[in-house]
Symmetry: C2
Subunit: 157 residues, 2 copies
C-alpha cells in the first residue's frame, strides 16, 4: 500500500504494518539555496562553483550530502508518515549513491521495514523505516534506514 | 597521535596511519541559528520552541540532528584532516546518542579506522574514519563512521 500523507491523522504503533509506504511531495533543488547551504556548512569547491566542480570527482556542481539530508527531512516532516510523536530518530545507515544537482526534483518514499514494541516501555515501540530520496529520473540520491520512536495508542495492549 | 590540523598540507593515502586522530576547532551552538535551521529543514516543535519542547522526549529545545550533522561538517572542513580531494563520503553509520542544545560547544575528533587502497583504481583508496562530535561535557552528540575517498600520492606505488 502506498499513501500520500498530507493526512492530519496521527499514527500510532498499532496503525502501522510492515511494507506500508508513504510518499512525500516534491522539492526542486534551488541553486542559490544549494550554494548558500554549502557556504555555511560545507564550503568545498564542488558544492560552491560550477567551474571548480568540473575537475573534481563530482564532475559538476553538487549539493552537500547534508543538504540533501536536510531537504529530505523537510519533505518528510511536511508529507511523510505523521507519527504521533513526530519524526524522532536516533540514527541509522545513511548513503548517497548519486549526487544531488541544481534543478533536481526530489521526492521521498518511506517504507516500514520492522515494528518492535518496547519490552521495557509499554507506551512505545521502535519502527525501522527506509527513507529513499529520488530525483526526477528515479535515481536514489539518498537512502537512510533509521529507527523511529513511535508511541502505542493503547500502552501495553 | 592526535593532531590539530589547520595545517595546509594536503593528505594522501600514504600520509595516513590507522589510529591517527585529528581534532577540530569548536563551534558554539547559537539558539537563533538552531531555530532558523529547524524552521527551514526540520520544523518540529522540539526544535523550534522551549515551551513546546518540554513535554516531548527531548525535555527541552534541541537541535535537529541534521543541524548537528551540518555543524559537524563545517568543523571538519575548517579544521579536520585535510584530505587531498576534500571530504568526499558516500555514506555511513550515523548516530545521535544525545541531543545538541543551544549554547553547547561542539568539537569533532576524527580517528582513522581503516585504510584500503583500491584494487581497480591505482590512483586512490578508501579511508574509513569515525567522526565523533562532543559537547563541552565530553558527551558524544553525534558519531558518524564513514568511508572517505582519498588519492594516492604515487598511484599504484
Amino acid at each position: 500500500m502506498t499513501q500520500t500523507s498530507g493526512a492530519t491523522a496521527r499514527l500510532y504503533l498499532e496503525d502501522l504494518t510492515v511494507g506500508q509506504r508513504f510518499v512525500t511531495g516534491t522539492k526542486t533543488v534551488d541553486e542559490a539555496e544549494l550554494k548558500s547551504f554549502a557556504t555555511t556548512y560545507d564550503p568545498q569547491p564542488f558544492h560552491l562553483d560550477h567551474e571548480a566542480a568540473k575537475s573534481t570527482m563530482f564532475g559538476g556542481l553538487a549539493a552537500s550530502g547534508w543538504h540533501t539530508a536536510a531537504m529530505t527531512m523537510r519533505l518528510i516532516v511536511d508529507g511523510g508518515p505523521p507519527f504521533a510523536w513526530g519524526i524522532i530518530g536516533g540514527g541509522g545507515e545513511l548513503s548517497w549513491p548519486k549526487p544531488t544537482r541544481p534543478g533536481d526534483v526530489l521526492q521521498v518514499e518511506t517504507e516500514i521495514l520492522e515494528i518492535t514494541p518496547s519490552r521495557s516501555r509499554p507506551e512505545r515501540g521502535t519502527v525501522t523505516v527506509r527513507n529513499d530520496t529520488r530525483n526526477q529520473h528515479g535515481d536514489i540520491v539518498q537512502s537512510f534506514v533509521v529507527k523511529i520512536i513511535v508511541p502505542r495508542r493503547t500502552p501495553g495492549a
